[in-house]
């Protein structure tokens, strides 16, 4: 970051390439819109390039960058009228898995993808940061600028939803 603060473009390129896969994954899961992923990712990295002094070392660099990406994605989703936080998700009955979802184990991931689509972007963000990026709930709370209990609650409801959708497969898992 010190090199980037000195406007070292090669250092920025290294950082860009290092974070591109992780941010792509996170933004893809969160937004579910590939064209938006490109734009938000590059907007995020432009903020890093132009505001390196805002990283003061009080958090991990990844936390800072993911927090920028999260806020940028929220802004982009709001402009596209995408639901951010599905406040009614907890009360709404889970989708019946139905015969079309009674699939073989090899199709679990296809079902997972569909199940994730039912979640809000906030819930998907927590799931992705937890399972894929191996982040703790405190770091996720910092990224999403919310209390740690909110992270736990979002994760709890996301897991419950996923388990419901995948209930036909759970016996094989246990």
């Amino acid at each position: 970051m010190a090199r980037i603060a000195r406007r070292d473009l090669r250092a920025f390129e290294e950082l860009y390439r290092a974070y591109h896969p992780r941010l792509t994954r996170f933004l893809m899961t969160m937004t579910r819109r590939p064209p938006l992923v490109e734009e938000v990712l590059n907007d995020t990295m432009m903020v890093v390039w132009n505001r390196p002094e805002r990283f003061n070392g009080s958090s991990r660099l990844s936390t800072w960058i993911f927090a920028i990406a999260y806020r940028t994605a929220l802004g982009a989703l709001r402009r596209q009228d995408q639901p951010i936080e599905d406040k009614g998700a907890d009360q709404r009955p889970a989708s019946d898995p139905g015969p079309e979802r009674q699939l073989g184990d090899r199709q679990v991931q296809a079902v997972l993808l569909s199940a994730l689509d039912d979640l809000s972007s906030d819930h998907r963000a927590v799931v992705d940061l937890t399972y894929f990026h191996d982040m703790g709930y405190r770091e996720i709370a910092e990224i999403m600028d919310c209390p740690v209990d909110t992270v736990k609650t979002r994760m709890f409801h996301a897991r419950r939803h996923l388990k419901r959708i995948l209930s036909g497969h759970l016996a094989d898992w246990l």
Binding site: L9, E39, V47, N50, T72, K163, R164, L170, L174
Partner: protein
């Protein structure tokens, strides 16, 4: 064990199960981890939840992401300067675009960088993104001085003649702006839409050159306008 969903049974099971996602990814502190381990030793239901949690986490982590098309487009953007022998690190097109953005951010008046009154705090970040798009759009619509510009050449080839209207103003409206207000803003400034809106909400306009300062000023006065800025040298302050 069946595939039924195990209901929470209150404390301590609820607390333990709320920690399981981070237990299986080894992201709990030592005290929390010891608490979970101690509980799992004597609770078959929560152990079943732990097994399910490990499987669920691994399935999500292994989930394929259809990023190939997205990456291909981004890579094409990154490689565009290199194709014009002005590489990524040599101050070429992308670097120039970044410097251009930096100038916008450093030199722009406060209203271009700070959210309008009442706008949410993320607006400032979003506006940085808008500035990025402004630069990107500039590269498409700004009449390039050099004849070697690949972007310029592509546009001329498609149209067989210079575009009758080049963008000379960029504008961003508040997300809740009504269509009739947007239309009134364009008509009032004798502006025609050249490009946009992008996913981030930026429009590129063409207004008659003689009245562009007045048109920009009029746009800025409208309550629904977050940003309005001339985008060529003649209009830049």
């Amino acid at each position: 064990m069946s595939g039924r969903i195990i209901p929470l049974r209150g404390e301590p099971h609820e607390r333990i199960q709320s920690l399981l996602p981070w237990f299986v990814t080894d992201r709990l502190d030592a005290a929390e981890r010891a608490e979970v381990e101690a509980h799992l030793t004597g609770c078959p239901d929560c152990r079943a939840e732990e097994r399910l949690e490990r499987r669920l986490g691994s399935e999500v982590a292994a989930m394929p992401m259809d990023v190939e098309q997205s990456w291909a487009r981004l890579r094409a953007r990154l490689e565009r300067p290199a194709s014009a022998n002005r590489g990524w690190g040599s101050g070429g097109g992308l670097a120039a675009a970044w410097r251009g953005l930096g100038r916008i951010l450093r030199g722009a008046p406060p209203w271009t960088l700070q959210p309008v009154h009442g706008a949410p705090p993320w607006m400032g970040w979003a506006m940085a993104g808008q500035a990025v798009l402004m630069v990107a759009l500039l590269s498409m619509v700004w009449p390039h001085g050099g004849s070697s510009s690949t972007v310029d050449a592509r546009y001329h080839a498609l149209g067989a003649a210079p575009s009758p209207r080049a963008g000379n103003v960029v504008v961003m409206f508040r997300p809740d702006t009504r269509e009739q207000d947007l239309r009134a803003a364009l008509l009032g400034g004798q502006a025609r839409l050249v490009d946009g809106p992008t996913a981030a909400g930026v429009y590129v306009l063409n207004v008659p050159a003689a009245r562009r300062p007045a048109a920009v000023a009029a746009l800025r006065r409208r309550p629904g306008v977050i940003m309005a800025e001339p985008i060529d040298a003649a209009g830049a302050r």
